[in-house]
Amino acid sequence: MNIMQPGPFKAANYKSDVTPVWCPGCGDFHVLLSLTKALAELGAAPENVALVSGIGCSSRIPAYTNCYGFHGVHGRSLALGAGLKVARPDLTVLVMSGDGDGFSIGGNHFLHACRRNIDMTYVVMDNRVYGMTKGQPSPTTEPDWDSALSPGGTGLSPFHPLVIALASGANFVAREFSGDIKGTTRTIVEAVRHPGFSFVEILSPCVTFRPDERAWKTQTHVASVEATDDPARAARRIMTDDGFNTGVLYRGRRKPYEHHVTDRIVDPAILEQEFAI
């Protein structure tokens, strides 16, 4: 543990001693690495970072760090994160989710978190499948992907999280590929620093139930144009791209949610006394 350890920090300072149970080759390993690198670059002490998650493979990530973690019920991570951030605006809050947790059962909160524009970062590890329950379609799954729970495919148009985020008022929108550690790290850093609600979709392959996603390594490419602050322009680009361009796609200028709770930073000596350290 690195409680109250002075910086500077390295990525290793943010890792817990819990061994991830993800399948070998899961993209989420890379997201964990990028996240810890980003936190080190941000220089946020582990005890000043809160990671909030819901249910699913990706939502296990808080336990693999030694930041504050909250593993909530399925789909409610954004609402939990909002509560945490308004009560403790001094903390760096990242909500870590997956496409099932975030866009399906928790889809409603996604819209309103974007609208509310609380200063926190929403990272969704999108593998286009429910991995933990062993291979059912999620809202981002392709319409022709066949499974027992969607005989012959869902036939449904996939959910487009980036456009939804933009249309709902997110202040920062980016897409990354988990295998691009440098790019993902850089984008998480920028997302955390950007005021208001930042949304980062990370294409993170599920090699067990979607082995075809291994191809993302070659399909993804860095966006050839600079991020814009014009939502209409960003929407047009995002809706017409191939779904695999990465990087920051939109940097908004909306005023973040105004906090009314005073920061409650206390003297470490009092904490030490309370916790009998």
Binding site: I55, H71, H74, T133
Partner: protein, 418 residues
């Protein structure tokens, strides 16, 4: 046809035989195999005229089923644990509207702390929603209860939950007699709804009802359950005529003749209890057991008749009402009101903790020797509990209980499953 198969798969086949018209599916452990099994049968063309919908949440699953049922379709869904809680508002809605939906519950604990294993906390949370709740003792009974459930639900226009223990039944492979389509068709007539979309008289359901009529509507929901008390054994008898085996009914008594101590339980643990009863009977103890199949409606009269001759009633229950003790035991006390029969609560099997024959025998013997407290927790680790209570006394900032207990027992606290 007799086959060696998984409980979930057999239930999926039973659902297919009941010719559902709308099936709503959302994955949650340990129920997922059932809806996946139904999906595979739809894909294989084994269910005609069936709309299989993969939805975005459990709340959506039951809401879609409510819409389908209101439109006159035979509707089915399944869930477990957190999924049942999440659909809670729709659970009450379906019952209040009197829509005969059948839903399987793959019984599982409720978090926090997150736990994917079996107990009955999920079903118990909805015991007063107005749904009929049937508990399967075996996978054969789970198959049979689903077939009976559609008939019962549709006759009374009341939704039915068929509860089967997660993993212990849902994931167990055993010999199961899955009936033929002809047999099921002979038993289960096509759905004849009491509410239809009548083009002559379009109407809106979901009325706002004020104090002038709310009690009457609720009373009628209660009255419907009382009708079910009569119909459940009758439907079980018809089922026996068609399928040749006894399944369902209100309660099953086992070796209760002359029994001084009687164990009562819901679901699959009755198998273990019967083994214990056999062993104790062999040793000369006067013990028996009663398995409750219909928990809602609650068969007060039948239980009273089965238990009133006992000296001790021990209720083994896989759920806990914190601050009270046992839910099933409280109901049993209602059945035994104005008698002197003591009813003990034994909370067992929470979050998947094994219920062993040795531990069961100990509590049954303790009851016989008047040494059982009103509420007992089977195999509770008193040391771990005491250490945590002490810790909480010593420091205000004791931290989260679950993580402390795990650390205390030498486990790393890890994230869960869904």
């Amino acid at each position: 046809m007799l086959k060696q198969t998984e409980g979930s798969q057999a239930v999926a086949e039973a659902i297919a035989l009941c010719r559902p018209e709308v099936v709503c599916a959302y994955p949650i452990t340990p129920q997922t195999h059932i809806v996946e099994g139904v999906g595979a049968l739809v894909k294989a063309g084994k269910i005609e005229n069936c709309e299989f919908i993969n939805v975005e949440s459990e709340f959506a699953a039951l809401s879609v089923a409510i819409g389908a049922s209101a439109a006159g379709a035979r509707a089915y869904t399944a869930t477990a644990s957190q999924g049942l809680l999440f659909m809670g508002e729709a659970v009450y809605n379906a019952a209040g509207l009197g829509l005969p939906i059948v839903m399987t519950i793959g019984n599982r604990a409720i978090g926090a702390p997150i736990n994917i294993w079996n107990d009955h906390t999920d079903s118990m949370s909805m015991k007063d929603s107005g749904w009929i709740q049937l508990f399967a003792e075996t996978n054969q009974e789970a198959v049979d209860l689903h077939i009976q459930a559609f008939r019962l639900a549709e006759e009374l226009s009341c939704p039915v939950m068929v509860c089967m223990d997660g993993f212990i039944l849902t994931h167990a492979y055993e010999r199961i007699d899955v009936p033929s389509q002809e047999e099921v068709d002979a038993f289960l007539p096509p759905y004849d709804p009491i509410q239809v979309l009548d083009p002559v008289e379009p109407y809106s359901i979901g009325a706002m009802v004020g104090p002038e009529a709310f009690t009457e509507v609720r009373y009628l929901a209660h009255e419907k359950q009382l009708q079910a008390l009569r119909r459940i054994p009758e439907i079980g008898a018809v089922f026996k005529d068609v399928f040749g085996r006894q399944s369902g009914g209100l309660i099953h008594s086992y070796r209760t003749e002359g029994a001084e101590t009687i164990a009562v339980a819901l679901g699959s643990v009755n198998g273990t209890i019967k083994e214990v009863i056999d062993g104790m009977r062999d040793d000369g103890a006067a013990v028996g057991s009663v398995s409750i199949c219909s928990f809602r409606p609650f068969p007060l009269d039948e239980l009273r008749a089965a238990l009133v001759g006992a000296k001790h009633v021990v209720v083994i229950e896989k759920s806990l009402a914190p601050g009270l003790g046992g839910i099933v035991a409280s109901n049993i006390r209602m059945a035994l009101r104005e008698t002197a029969v003591p009813v003990y609560t034994v909370i067992a099997g929470l979050g998947g903790r094994p219920i062993t024959m040795n531990s069961l025998r100990e509590v049954l013997e303790a009851a016989g020797n008047m040494r059982l407290p009103d509420v007992q927790f089977l195999d509770l680790d008193h040391g771990a509990v005491e250490r945590e209570i002490l810790r909480a006394k010593q420091t205000r900032r004791a931290g989260p209980t679950a993580e402390n207990i795990l650390r205390n027992l030498g486990h790393a606290a890890v994230a869960g499953n869904d």
